[in-house]
Symmetry: C2
Subunit: 138 residues, 2 copies
C-alpha cells in the first residue's frame, strides 16, 4: 500500500485508481488546479467523476477549494497544519494575473480583524492578486 493510499484511507476515502491518480497529480503540481486542468489531464475519465472526486476530497479535508476571483474554482491539497476541515483555513492565496496561476501561501496567515458588534466570523478568505515570483523575474 502506497503512501497516497494510506493518506486517503486515513481520511476515510476509498483509495480507488481514479482518486489515487488525481491525488498524485495534485501533489506533483505545486499550484492550485482548476477542474479544466484535471479534465485535460484525465481525458478518458468522466467530468462528473472528477467533480465528485474533488467534492469528496473537500468534504474529507483532503483538498481545500480556493476562490481566487477568476470565477473558476480551484483546488489544492491540504498540508499538515492546514485547518480547513475546521472551516478555519486561515492561510492566504496569491493569484498571478500574468501566468494566471494560484498558489497557497501557507506560511502567511490572515491577520485577525476586529469586526463590528454583532458580527461573528467563522471563515476568512484572502486573495492577493499581482505578479508572482516567477513572472516578476526575481
Amino acid at each position: 500500500m502506497t503512501k497516497i493510499e494510506k493518506t486517503l484511507e486515513n481520511k476515510s476515502v476509498r483509495p480507488t485508481a481514479m482518486r489515487i491518480l488525481i491525488y498524485k497529480y495534485m501533489a506533483e503540481k505545486k499550484i492550485a488546479v482548476a477542474m479544466t486542468d484535471i479534465e485535460n489531464v484525465f481525458e478518458k475519465a468522466e467530468r462528473t467523476t472528477l467533480y465528485r472526486t474533488l467534492k469528496t476530497f473537500e468534504e474529507k479535508g483532503i483538498v481545500h477549494q480556493i476562490d481566487d476571483g477568476t470565477n473558476i474554482s480551484k483546488f489544492a491539497l491540504c498540508e499538515l497544519g492546514c485547518s480547513c476541515e475546521l472551516d478555519q483555513d486561515l492561510h492566504l492565496h496569491f493569484h498571478c494575473s500574468n501566468c494566471n496561476e494560484t498558489v497557497c501561501l501557507t506560511e502567511h496567515k490572515i491577520p485577525h480583524i476586529n469586526l463590528p458588534e454583532g458580527y461573528i466570523a467563522e471563515e476568512a478568505n484572502l486573495v492577493l492578486k499581482g505578479i508572482c515570483d516567477k513572472c516578476s523575474g526575481h
Copy 2:
C-alpha cells in the same frame, strides 16, 4: 436634474432611465446585490442590458464588483473614499452564511501583508464569512 443623474454624469455615464432605476435600487438596498436580484426586480428589462449596465458602472467607478466566495458576482455602490477605480479597493466584505447577504465593511481596511521575495501585490480581496449582526441577534 436629480442627484442620481448628476452622479452619473460626473462619472461620464449617460443617465438613461434604466441606469437611473438600477442606481436607485442599489442605493436603497444597503447590501451587495447579485445579477439575479436585479433581474427579479426589473423583469421587463433584458438580462443583457442589466449586465452591460453593471459593467459600465464598474468601469466608470460607480460600483465595485464583489467576489464573496459564493461564485456569484455581487455589486455594491462605491462610496466616497472608495478607491476601487484605482484597482486598490482595500475595504473588506462580510458574507453571512445564514441570510446569505454580503455587506461592505468600508471602514475596515485590509491589513498590509508582507509577501515573499518576488511577489508583487496589486489587488487584494478579503471576505469574512460567518453570522452578521442581524442574524446573530445583537
